[in-house]
Amino acid sequence: MRQALTIGARDLRATYVSAFGIGCTAAFAALAGVLLVFDLRGNQARLDLWFSSLFVALGLLAALLAQRAFAEEERAGTLELLLTSPVRFWQVAVGKLLGVCGVLLAAIAATIVCPLLVSSMGNPDAGPIVTGYFGLLLVGVGFLSVGLAVSAATPNPLVAAAGTAAVLVALWLAGVLAGSLGGRLHAVLQYLSPTSHVTGFLRGTIAATDVAYFLSMTLVGLATVVVVLGARR
């Protein structure tokens, strides 16, 4: 685990103290502010619409952050070194995830000013805010894992970003398709879609199925990274 933490810390320093990391964090915070103004137009001190918009923005952020995880190493010529070093692939995968999660955490933390502002002006229900942030972290880590898996498979950051977006859109489409089907297929496809698993966080609840879903997404993403790295070596 120490190697994973070392890799994570190194990546965090490299990503976060760069223009890219700072820019992503600042842009996400700004976007959250703009979304807040639009989503408060119902004249209610409620943040469920705002969180649902942020979940979509998280997909974009995950694609952007994860694209550089392996592609950047490959471009700098350090990926070979990493893959041939006495570090296990799962440590690489976990370390990479920890690194980008640091940026994710900073970006999400930068949005906290929004519910604080709403609280200063109105009387929002604190429960959905807590579960909304819990959901943002869980969903963000899940999406990042998907992004890392795609990033590990291609040397091109642009392809990695597009691929991540494509996977997330495909999962979303599963939910759309489920609407026109019935029976077990409907239930399975609906379960596969992330949108059916964020409703709980928006309304102030934390459901076991939703936590299990996003933890599974993270696990499968990391496992895919390990498999892809193994295949590349």
Partner: protein, 456 residues
Amino acid sequence: MSRSRRRAVLIGLAIVVAVVVGNVVAYAHNAQADLSATHHFSLAPQTKGVLDQVKAPLKVTAFLNKAGAEARDARFLLARYQELNHHISFSVIDPDADPTAARRFGISQYSTVVVMYKGRRVEAPAVDELDVSTAILRAVRGGTKTVCVLAGHGEPALDDQTGAGLSKVGDILRHNAYDVRTVDLTVGQPAVPADCAALFDFGPRDPFGPQEVQAINAYAKAAGRVMLVTSSLTRADPNPLTVPWGVHFLGGLVVDPQRSEGGDPTNVVIEDLPSASPVVDGVNRLQFPASAGVAVDPGLRDGLTVERLAVTSGASWVESNPDNELQFDKNDLPGPVVVATASDDSHVDTPSGLGSAAGGHIVRTRVLITASDTWLTNDFLDRLSNRRFFVNGLAWLTQEEQLLATTAQVSTDRSLPLTAERQARILVITVGLVPGLIIGAGLLAHFGWRRRRRRA
């Protein structure tokens, strides 16, 4: 296959199995923690019981302004119903945006909910747990039951919203899909209608006539279900109605200095609920102000059982002279005192009395008696477990297990008019200040790092 590859495949399989099993278990248990202030989206156990009865596709359609917060809450709530029973599907339709659908469903008011189940249609007036669950209960049941409420003896009215009224009882009956019919046996030929699923007498003050007593007893004997809520304040003698079911009404006024509320020893709190009857399921304590006492007959006939539902403490007594003093003396009856009973009489009814082998059927009478009537009034129904006790009693009498004891939830005002000033403030801080600070911090870190490198 090499060993490492085999290991990798096994680990991969293990991960897949763990993921599938984890999700299946989570899906099956459907556990959730509700952090919202009103716990609107955690459904009551009674609602879950109602949902367990849904065995075929059930569609809930809510007609709401889609742009409003109410529509979002409706989706959240109905999604929870769907999570608990996958036979349930829902949709939220904006009747203004989709007037054809509104016409097809015959909708004339916002917030109407239509429940369709096995070709049956039931409507609810609002999208909240109480109304939606009631509609589902009614749809699953396939009809409404009629309960009859006696009038003509000074009983409080079911639409009386004063503290001494019974409007909350009326609400419970309506929300549990009962049609309420008022029956006055003091006029005309007294007979309790045969389609009464239960007969209630809530707090009579005036005496019953002999023909009334006959009519009520005849109804009870013919597999009737009776709830008699009386008290020491009545001028009626309930014994002709209670004795056939093994219970004697003692009258008097129960005094319990050890378990009473607000310094009034006649405002009795019941903590002894010795019965295993479903009437006291989930009931912890009761508040029975101005209660008389009842006694259970020692020798009951075959087939008749009487449960002592609520008993006062050992320090209590039945005061025989409450107008003059509240001190125990030799004329008073020492406690513990029974103040509520449930009689269940089952016997076989055969055409010529030849016994069950001759093809008779079982006739079951249930009678619930309480010696206080104040506990049911608007002022007291929501004290301690009084409401639960009434709902359980209703369920026991009409043999409906899943009734809803939840009260309507009060929603908090969360309005926040988004004025131009507020909007500007949000944008300046979130789009200007915060990103500016982040960039500034990044720049500081960058230049600080470069200076450290130069020095090095």
